[in-house]
Amino acid sequence: MANSETSTAPLLLRLSDADNIAVAVRALAAGTRDMGVTLTQPVPVGHKVALRAIAAGEKIVKWGMPIGSATQSISAGEHVHTHNLKSDYLPTFTLDDGKKFVEDHP
């Protein structure tokens, strides 16, 4: 792990090889470098950071599974959260999908 600090504790945690984001395992300052990216702004513990450039509409992948779609282009090292990621389920997909399943499976 390419930590800029001498500490052995990880800074960013990638949960699956397929992921295009990693998670901050502690509060990190802007300019922190890890996993080949430089943070463009401070990131709180548990929040997500893009590991590469992500295009608008592209899936954000965590635990190897999609957690939603990018609403704008995201650069490597950028904070990924509600301002640039939206759910593919709630609120619209949910209602129709659930109703259809119930209708199809009486």
């Binding site: 929040h47 599974m65 709630l90 209602l95 109703k99």
Partner: protein, 405 residues
Amino acid sequence: MSLWTGFLRSDGRKGIRNGLAVVYLVECAHHVAREVASPYRDAGANLIGFPGCYPNRYADTVMRRLCTHPNIGAVLLVSLGCESFDRNGLAQTIRASGRPVHTLVIQETGGTRRTIAEGRAWVEQTLKELAQQPRVPMTWSELSIGTICGGSDATSGLTANPVIGRAFDRMIERGATCIFEETGELIGCEQHMAQRAQTPELGEQLIRSVAKAEVYYATLGHGSFAPGNAAGGLTTQEEKSLGAYAKSGTSRIAGLIKPGDIPTVGGLYLLDVVPDGPVRFGFPNISDNAEAVELIACGAHVILFSTGRGSVVGSAISPIVKICANPETYRRLSEDMDVNAGCILDGSGTIHSVADQVVELVQQVAGGQPTASEALGHQEFILGYKHFEPTGPSCLPLVQIGGQR
């Protein structure tokens, strides 16, 4: 092989506590019941109750299951007198289970002060009798463990939830029953769950239960996604779902149960907490303890509670083991926590090592060691109105214990 000792009940189940439930059967009897129970809280009195005056089949079923839960050895019912709860039917169910039961009707006993005095005298005497009850050997195949999460943040899905999943796998290997729940928090995981089902029919029911939850929450205009989740770094419903889903581990799913259904063989079960039919009584579960109560009504002896932002709650009847996901939260609230899973983030622990610690702790708690919330006197309890249709035959290997649905 015996690992600890418990209390044998007439239905063959064994308890890890020998509590006395003091039960108010309507909010109007709550104060009297609380006054009866409070001097004996640390001696084993558990205050539970149902606030409503109107009858509800779900609440009736859950209350019968709670009053005949293996962790409960005796029950005092406190009725105002004019509420519609079937206190005679409940007392009959408890009596048939072989437990001491006594009913006090405030309007007949002569009011607040007399009822409190009579109630305390009965509790004091009955606790002495419970203390004489012999202990019997108990092992994993006789233990049921539930799990919930509350006050989740992004660390929940990184540390505590995968730890619980691993601990579930290990306890199921030893024959235990493990129950996860909240289908509304599994939206996006339903296809993966169906692949883990013991039978294709059960897989279909699992998908259907999540679809039901989607419709239910959408009708209410809310998901389970709370503002605190976003502050903690979770962005979407499916991100939260996948993190919560990690609590279920990797075992095959043996059944899909509803509140009050008690599995009789070990394995992994999903508890469907979302009511059937049209939305009638509001949110499925208004807070974490409503979920804990339903797990206990399904027979859970212990509940593993994953928290990131830091919940302090415990529960009546069954001990709650709090597994703290976030190392910063643990530093602030360590007295309220049983396990620091946040050590995974600072590199001083792994999911494997913390899961081993959890399994070891569950065994100690089953043997009588108090959890953090028990030691602090927490006994949170909520039971409200719901409606469920009976569980379908494709959902389960189970049997009904102690009364009808």
